[in-house]
């Protein structure tokens, strides 16, 4: 038993190597099909997460116009990285709402002041309830929701510049 424990660090390290090697070698496909694609947005109603923005409920997403829903946190570093891409999407006329995960209003305000503000409504999700209801376990994630509130597309991880055309296409397709 004792001898086996001595090999445990090596075993853990090899597991790490395997995970990383797969990640390095594998092709990156950021869009995976969530269970919810093609289904209506789960019902929720969230308070406002930042001054100057109204809160967000599922009804707010059924506007007859397709919209993006960005799940983010001011503490999340990839969310900072994707901020310019969200601004670019906004500039292309895409309406974007957001859910702020485990955040504080002043932090969200600083985040928007520093990285730009692409959002119309921002819901405050302090316990990650809505996030989990959406089948999302981390940030950032972005959903395309059509005019009837049905989820059409999901993007996991930060939006990189090369992902913008695909998101615009998904948004156009949801019209």
């Amino acid at each position: 038993m004792k001898r086996l424990i001595l090999w445990l660090p090596l075993a853990l390290f090899l597991a790490f190597l395997a995970v990383v090697a797969v990640r390095l070698g594998g092709k990156q496909d950021p869009s995976i099909r969530s269970q919810l694609i093609g289904k209506p947005m789960p019902e929720f109603a969230l308070k406002a997460a930042a001054p100057g923005h109204p809160g967000l409920s599922a009804a707010d997403l059924r506007t007859g116009q397709p919209r993006l829903l960005n799940v983010f946190g001011s503490w999340c570093i990839p969310c900072q990285v994707e901020a310019p891409q969200l601004l670019a999407l906004k500039a292309r006329g895409v309406p974007i709402d957001a859910v702020a995960i485990r955040d504080r209003p002043e932090d969200v305000a600083h985040f928007l002041a520093r990285h730009g503000d692409p959002f119309q409504r921002i819901g405050d999700d302090p316990q990650s309830r809505v996030q989990f209801a959406l089948g999302s376990s981390g940030v950032p994630e972005t959903f395309v929701v059509d005019g009837k509130g049905i989820i059409r597309h999901q993007h996991v991880g930060e939006i990189r510049p090369e992902n913008v055309p695909a998101l615009i296409a998904a948004w156009e397709a949801a019209k």
Binding site: L10, V20, R23, P30, V81
Partner: protein, 641 residues
């Protein structure tokens, strides 16, 4: 010609490391004893050659030689000279060259100054160091050549990332690298001792000063990096749990644990296998950190040029070195006899608790940093965890750790009685209780972690001074002073963190010129904005007049626009006072003549970095104390206590 000379020096250095490896392996065979003496000079020659290559790269940057690809992509002729100089390591290739140069210099320092280790173990150590070096030379020469030429020669360079255009860049990465890579010596010592089966107090005493030296630089590097991020990122925060920050924190946690376990091994001959393990882990964390940052598989605000091929190369090196060392550990450490045993309530017991807690925090940071990879491995996409996870998971453990740090130095070796310990801790406990009362009275609504942080900062600050109580201060050994000052530094830093978390006042306003804003105790008048220009940037500069009773003073935060590459940054203006800092940032105009101002009053925030400085200073005193005593002992002087 400079670039070609540099490349030649790099190749020669690589050849020297191969020679060092070959000599070392031959010398460790029974028949190779006469080769033992050849290894040290080769190690020194290797360091001189790679040092020359690095100096030549700096020369290329100072001249802005645009026929060199690296200079053309990362520098610009209009840059101030300090940033041309520092630009040499503000990019992937240059920083890897610095990495290897530090590795070779650490090996050469061991070759020149280490006299306590048995010669066979020393040669095994230098052989391990050469093996590490060889892989990274190959990485530089085949996958990251810093001296590559560019043709046709462009008329102008692309410039340096403006965030990096800061005096901090000149000092922060080299300091961090000396610590980061210097800890490779501990790794090589551990491998050397496993090869010669020579793990014991003598090995620990020989390794301790090297660990201390690397740890001092790591501490300084992390402290400086934190302050740099604080004033340069213009966000008011001092730690972001960014993968790059974690990559420097993890080796520090492991090295701190190692520093304490090596004391047990040196003094009481305990924790043999554990100490060897930590020595391997500390540098492994440095290498894993380098890999995570350079391969681009984790998203970070510190971006380097990302290249999966380079990632694969470093991954292969990791597999070879870390895998090899851990396999050697599994094979050999069973034959290392466990040393002396001890009671739970004892100095050793406290140090073991320290080690377990530091390791647990290290595990938390590692899991949090790798979380995006773990989630992706089970098919969940690429997701990130941030400050909420790290603070909630690591914060409470860190506070328990600080508590043990206060009591540990007052415990006797081998066995102590709880009643006795409590008596020695009477004064600190009284101060702790007083602090708790005062904080409750003065700040009733305070959150739990900042509350505990503040109370512990006072109590543990007092406890950390207790080892000096009733001692003749002039006869107290320097390394005891070092321990006291380092522990006090932790308490001071903790106080700063807790105060910043509990008492910061922040205001985000859109203000017209002439308006006045209240932030904490300060009245701040926004006088207006004016354009200003620097060597390669233009900026909008706000004029803010701040006062609280006494004479007013002016702050001038800027929003800068750099020309090459075109980028915008905000330059915070920070006014430091004895009781805190006033931190001001100007944002964009809203179109209606109002400017976005972000203002913070952060009471006692400077203690965070002052504490970090004290921790490093304590390390330096301990190092001087250890080296002096070691020297005396080598000359047959007084015995080690």
């Amino acid at each position: 010609m400079i670039a070609e000379t540099g490349l030649a020096a790099l190749w020669l250095a690589a050849a020297m490391s191969l020679l060092q490896l070959a000599f070392g392996m031959a010398a460790l065979r029974p028949a190779g004893a006469e080769l033992l003496r050849a290894v040290r000079p080769v190690a020194v020659a290797q360091a001189l050659l790679v040092g020359l290559a690095f100096l030549l790269l700096i020369q290329l940057f100072l001249r802005t030689d645009l026929s060199v690809l690296l200079v053309a992509t990362n520098s610009h002729s209009a840059k101030p000279w300090l940033y041309k100089f520092a630009g040499a390591w503000g990019n992937h290739e240059g920083s890897m060259l610095l990495w290897v140069a530090v590795l070779a210099a650490a090996g050469a320092a061991v070759a020149l100054f280490e006299r306590r280790l048995p010669e066979r173990t020393l040669v095994a150590t230098l052989t391990a160091q050469a093996a590490i070096g060889l892989g990274f030379y190959a990485f530089l020469l085949f996958a990251s050549n810093p001296f590559e030429r560019l043709f046709p020669v462009p008329p102008e360079g692309k410039g340096l990332n403006p965030l990096l255009q800061d005096p901090g860049l000149a000092f922060h990465p080299p300091t961090l690298y000396v610590g980061y890579v210097g800890i490779s010596v501990a790794f090589s010592f551990a491998v050397g001792a496993l090869v010669t089966r020579d793990v014991g107090p003598a090995f620990a005493r020989a390794m301790r000063p090297w660990v201390l030296a690397a740890w001092i630089f790591l501490t300084l590097g992390i402290t400086a990096g934190s302050y740099w991020a604080y004033y340069e990122l213009g966000w008011g925060g001092w730690w972001f749990w960014d993968p790059v920050e974690n990559a420097s924190l993890m080796p520090w946690l492991a090295a701190t644990a190692l520093l304490h376990s090596v004391s047990v091994l040196a003094t009481r001959d305990g924790l043999r296998a554990w100490t060897v393990m930590l020595a391997v882990v500390a540098f492994s964390m440095s290498m894993v950190g380098t890999f995570l940052v350079r391969s681009g598989i984790l998203t970070s605000v510190h971006s380097f040029a990302v290249d999966p091929q380079r990632g694969a190369f470093i991954l292969a090196l990791l597999a070879l070195y870390i895998g090899g060392a851990l396999a050697l550990f599994g094979l050999r450490v069973g034959t290392v006899k466990e040393g002396a045993t001890f009671e739970p309530v004892s100095r050793e017991g406290a140090l073991v608790a320290n080690n377990l807690l530091l390791s647990a925090i290290l595990g938390i940071v590692l899991v949090g940093t790798l979380y995006p990879l773990l989630v992706e491995a089970v098919g969940g996409g690429k997701l990130s965890v941030g400050a909420p996870y790290f603070n909630a998971a690591a914060g409470p453990l860190a506070l328990v750790l600080v508590l043990i740090m206060g009591a540990g130095p007052l415990l006797r070796w081998r066995r102590d009685r709880l009643g006795e310990v409590a008596r020695r801790l009477l004064a600190p406990i009284a101060i702790l209780a007083l602090a708790a009362g005062a904080v409750f009275a003065l700040a009733p609504g305070i959150r739990i972690l900042p509350l505990l942080g503040l109370v512990l900062a006072f109590g543990i600050g007092a406890a950390s001074l207790a080892p000096l109580w009733k001692r003749n201060l002039r006869r107290t050994p320097l390394f005891t002073w070092g321990m006291v000052i380092s522990h006090l530094g932790i308490a001071v830093s903790l106080g700063g963190m807790a105060s910043e978390a509990a008492f910061t006042k922040e205001v985000l306003v859109a203000a017209r010129p002439g308006e006045t804003v209240q932030v904490g105790p300060y009245q701040i008048r926004f006088d207006g904005v004016e354009p200003v220009a620097g060597p390669n940037w233009t900026a909008i500069e706000a004029k803010l007049t701040a006062s609280r009773g006494g004479s007013p003073f002016v702050l001038r935060p800027q929003a800068r626009t750099f020309s090459s590459p075109p980028t915008q940054t905000s330059e915070a203006h920070i006014a430091t006072r004895l009781d805190g800092q006033l931190y001001t940032v100007i944002g964009p105009e809203d179109g209606g003549g109002r400017w976005q101002l972000r203002l913070w009053w952060k009471p006692f925030v400077t203690l965070i970095w002052l504490g970090g400085g004290l921790v490093a200073l304590g390390g330096l005193l301990a190092l001087i104390g250890r080296v002096r005593r070691g020297g005396r002992k080598a000359r047959g002087g007084e015995a080690d206590a």
